[in-house]
């Protein structure tokens, strides 16, 4: 395939990722959040495919396939299932940052990452496009982190974590692909982790605060022997 075309496609995909992330930041509806996340992962696997096309390394293809299966299919199913059981549909509570300021902070994060990575740019020896990819990857990690602390519902926190994970994968795509074995194990780990947090979140109902309020009557339940 034409390398110029691939470069262009890569650029487009990166921009797409940023846009999708912005949507994740501002969305309140859980269903659409999960859908956007699937799309996010899909774009990521598309980038992996582009890498396969340009370098011809089958690892990338496998990685793309795995990403599609796990992140665009399995995890969204898991999330939907959890959401359905939890009976919540929107997340309107914010903490520390409101959506608008979140977007502003994300912008700052991207600039900040640019500044940090400019220090090690020379040592990495990457072309400017790849370098841009690395910055976007790292920014996604930080933005995901921001989502975790600025949203209340546990399910959105999980999505934030997944965005972080996508950022890490993006970073590794642009810097250098990990061995397939490790790639697979990381994905397995992610699946288990998400499953566990879903179950835990399930046990915890919707949000930590409400949960604690509900917990108060139970407070001495654990220590009931003492009361006897």
């Amino acid at each position: 395939m034409n390398p110029v075309l691939i470069d262009e496609l890569l650029k487009i995909s990166l921009v797409l990722l940023v846009i999708l992330t912005t949507i994740i930041i501002s969305r309140r509806n859980l269903v659409s959040l999960i859908n956007v996340y699937s799309l996010h992962s899909l774009v990521l696997s598309f980038i992996a495919i582009l890498f396969f096309l340009s370098e011809g390394n089958y690892t990338f293809l496998f990685a793309a396939a795995l990403t599609i299966i796990s992140k665009s299919v399995l995890i969204p199913i898991l999330l939907r299932w959890t959401k359905w059981h939890m009976k919540i549909f929107t997340d309107i509570e914010y903490h520390y940052l409101k959506p608008v300021s979140s977007i502003f902070v994300s912008l700052l994060i991207i600039i900040f990452s640019f500044f940090i990575f400019s220090k090690i740019k020379d040592y990495l020896g990457l072309s400017s496009l790849y370098y841009f990819g690395v910055i976007i990857g790292f920014s996604l990690v930080m933005i995901g982190f921001m989502i975790i602390f600025s949203r209340r519902k546990i399910i959105v926190k999980i999505i934030g974590y997944l965005v972080m994970e996508n950022g890490v994968v993006l970073l590794s795509l642009f810097i250098g692909e990990m061995p397939l074995l490790i790639e697979m194990m990381v994905l397995m780990d992610l699946l288990v982790l998400v499953a566990i947090t879903c179950i835990l979140g399930f046990g915890m109902d919707s949000s930590m605060e409400e949960f604690h309020k509900k917990l108060n009557p139970f407070h001495n339940w654990f220590n009931r022997r003492a009361k006897k």
Binding site: H95, I120, M142
Partner: protein, 648 residues
């Protein structure tokens, strides 16, 4: 020699283990065996140290946890081992019956076992010639004494005392660890060697050492733990702690002062000043105290002050290169340490017997014990006379020596130093007078007059072991006082120092003869037709104990004189039947003395740390996850900025 040391070690180890084997055994045989073993170990170590004092030093190594601790018994160490062993011996005799007073059998066994550990650790502190070894046994000593202080854990005040003691001890220990590390990184070896540091660093070292050892010794302003820990702990342990453990701290101070070369003048002055303050404040606080054991504890602070004064004098005279006087000062200090350990353990043990008999520590509830506890009161009297520095007892001799050193301050040229020495001497003289007053009060209120409570009336004489232990010390107090001239002359010849002391032997024989003659004259020539009746009470029908002079009454004039130090607060809370406050219903009046050091020195930093810790705890313990994640987010940003700055 080393064989004997090993024997001492193993015997003490056995006496630690034996009571633990039969922890639930009610019969006292195991405890007795263990205590006899302690006595045996003490005897052997006295023999050993006398050998060292007369002959050569012993050095050897022990291996703990893969580290070699070198040990050295030189004359200084031997001297302190003698102190430990004599007191340890007598306390063990005393404990044979004292330990049986505790209700719980486990406690009795633990008492004996921990006491053995305590004595063992003190002995090894003294002979350690290695920083880490010193620290090892020092901490062991602290922990074992801490557990012993907590012995009556059921009482609320004991808990407080335990925590107080532990915190103060740890505070001292961190300063010690710091100074040891400072020495270690400068000499590169853990063994004691001469340390020469820059003037600044050596001053720091001096300060940390002084705080570290001063805390353990009970130097003002780190003295507060004594007045809590001593009343709370069992009397045998108070005797050991006050008689021996605080001396071990003094030993540490002397030992480490020998190590630092290039001493500065102000160190000696600082020690002198703090010693004087400790002596004066200690006795002033002791005077108004109504808790018998706390009174003794404050008196220990006073005596530590006296010892510190002589160490300070030693340092000042050494600085002015007057070694002859300096040595006399040092000997005076050591001699006073020795004497104090004798009479203070004696006093604590007899006080323990009294407390056991009357079930109270408040001297206002005692009185008249001389009738029921004849021997105990005699022993206490000997201790009181010795501590009040009356001739011909031993306390007199050592204080006299210190006065003599003070008199020689003319040989120092600097007028400022002379002035400081003069002031210190006059305060020291005041201290001696107050000490006499204090013990007149203690003896008078506790033993004389009419019993003030039912318990005091029904008090029984202590068991024979509880008399023999203190009795040995009492005899020693007398013998050492009377033969002080001979003993010190002998030592002076060995060490090449001359002490001009009066020969107390002839004086005391003379006094004794005169006393006997006077007694006989009064007995035979005086009025033979004496009658026994109540003292005339100004026409009151019969006298009761309420009319006696009380301890508070006794100390009232002194409280008034030193009111600037005590800061007494008088609180009157009357309530009335009518609104105008005419018809008196009931009232509450109290006199409280300010706890200056606690309120102004200890509490403010504690409160500050507490405040910070509360705030810190709050931000770490939010219910929601979000803030935690935010902390991490911010930390990562900060880290990245650091990375950005560092990488070039």
């Amino acid at each position: 020699m080393v064989l004997l040391i090993t024997a001492v070690f193993l015997i003490l180890l056995l006496s630690i283990v034996i009571p633990l084997i039969g922890l639930k055994l009610k019969h006292s045989s195991l405890r007795k065996i263990s205590l006899i073993l302690i006595m045996l170990a003490c005897l052997i170590s006295i023999f050993l140290s006398l050998q060292v004092l007369l002959g050569k030093d012993i050095s050897f190594q022990i291996f703990v946890s893969g580290t070699a601790f070198s040990m050295l018994i030189d004359s200084l160490a031997a001297f302190f081992i003698i102190i430990i062993s004599i007191v340890g011996f007598c306390v063990s005799i005393y404990s044979i019956s004292y330990a049986e007073h505790f209700e719980s059998v486990k406690k009795r066994n633990f008492l004996v076992s921990l006491m053995a550990l305590f004595i063992l650790s003190m002995m090894f502190v003294v002979i350690s010639h290695n920083l880490l070894g010193f620290l090892f046994f020092w901490e062991l000593m602290s922990i074992s004494s801490f557990l012993l202080v907590l012995f009556d854990y059921e009482k609320e005040e004991t808990k407080k005392a335990g925590i107080f003691y532990f915190v103060m001890t740890q505070l001292g220990t961190i300063f010690l660890i710091f100074s040891f590390i400072l020495i270690y990184i400068n000499t590169g070896t853990l063994d004691f060697t001469n340390t020469s540091l820059s003037p600044f660093l050596s001053s720091i070292l001096f300060i940390t050492l002084a705080i570290g050892f001063g805390t353990k010794a009970g130097m003002v302003p780190f003295h507060k733990w004594l007045s809590y820990a001593h009343p709370a702990s069992p009397s045998s342990i108070s005797a050991l702690m006050s008689g021996v453990m605080i001396k071990v701290a003094i030993y540490g101070l002397i030992r480490f002062l020998f190590i630092i070369s290039q001493q500065q003048l102000w160190w000696g002055i600082a020690i002198l000043i703090f010693g004087t303050i400790s002596a004066l404040l200690g006795i002033i606080y002791a005077l108004k105290e109504q808790d018998l054991k706390r009174l003794l504890a404050y008196s220990s602070i006073e005596n530590i002050g006296i010892i510190l004064i002589s160490i300070g004098l030693y340092m000042i005279f050494t600085y002015y290169s007057l070694p002859a006087i300096a040595l006399v000062a040092l000997f005076a200090g050591l001699f006073h340490a020795f004497n104090h350990s004798l009479f203070k353990s004696l006093l604590f043990m007899t006080a323990g017997s009294v407390v056991n008999a009357t079930h109270t520590k408040n001297i206002e509830k005692m009185g008249g014990l001389v009738k029921n506890m004849k021997y105990t009161s005699l022993l206490f009297l000997i201790g009181a006379i010795s501590i009040s520095a009356l001739p011909p007892f031993n306390g007199f001799v050592s204080e006299l020596m210190i006065f003599q050193v003070f008199f020689k301050s003319n040989s120092i040229s600097s007028p400022l130093i002379k002035l400081i020495l003069m002031i210190s001497m006059s305060l020291f003289a005041l201290t001696s007078a107050l000490a006499a007053a204090c013990f007149v009060k203690a003896f008078g209120i506790v033993f004389l007059a009419v019993p003030r409570s039912k318990e005091a009336k029904e008090a029984k004489e202590a068991d024979k072991f509880m008399l023999v232990g203190p009795a040995i010390l009492a005899i020693l107090c007398m013998v050492i006082g009377v033969f002080s001239f001979q003993i010190l002359n002998f030592i002076g010849e060995k060490a090449g120092v001359s002490f001009d002391l009066p020969n107390l032997l002839w004086i005391s024989i003379g006094t004794f003869i005169i006393g006997v003659i006077a007694y006989l004259i009064i007995r035979n020539i005086g009025n033979k037709h004496s009658r026994v009746s109540e003292t005339w009470g100004c026409g009151i029908n019969s006298q009761n104990s309420k009319m006696e002079y009380t301890a508070s009454g006794f100390s009232e004039p002194i409280v008034t004189i030193f009111s600037s130090i005590y800061q007494p607060k008088k609180i009157n809370k009357p309530t009335f039947y009518d609104s105008k406050g005419v018809i008196f219903k009931e009232g509450q009046a109290s006199l409280s003395l300010i706890k200056f050091f606690e309120e102004y020195l200890y509490l403010p930093p504690l409160k500050m740390v507490h405040y910070i810790s509360e705030k810190l705890y709050k931000i770490q313990n939010k219910i929601d996850l979000d803030s935690f994640i935010l902390y991490i987010f911010l930390t990562i940003l900060a880290l990245l900025i650091i990375v950005g700055v560092v990488i070039r």
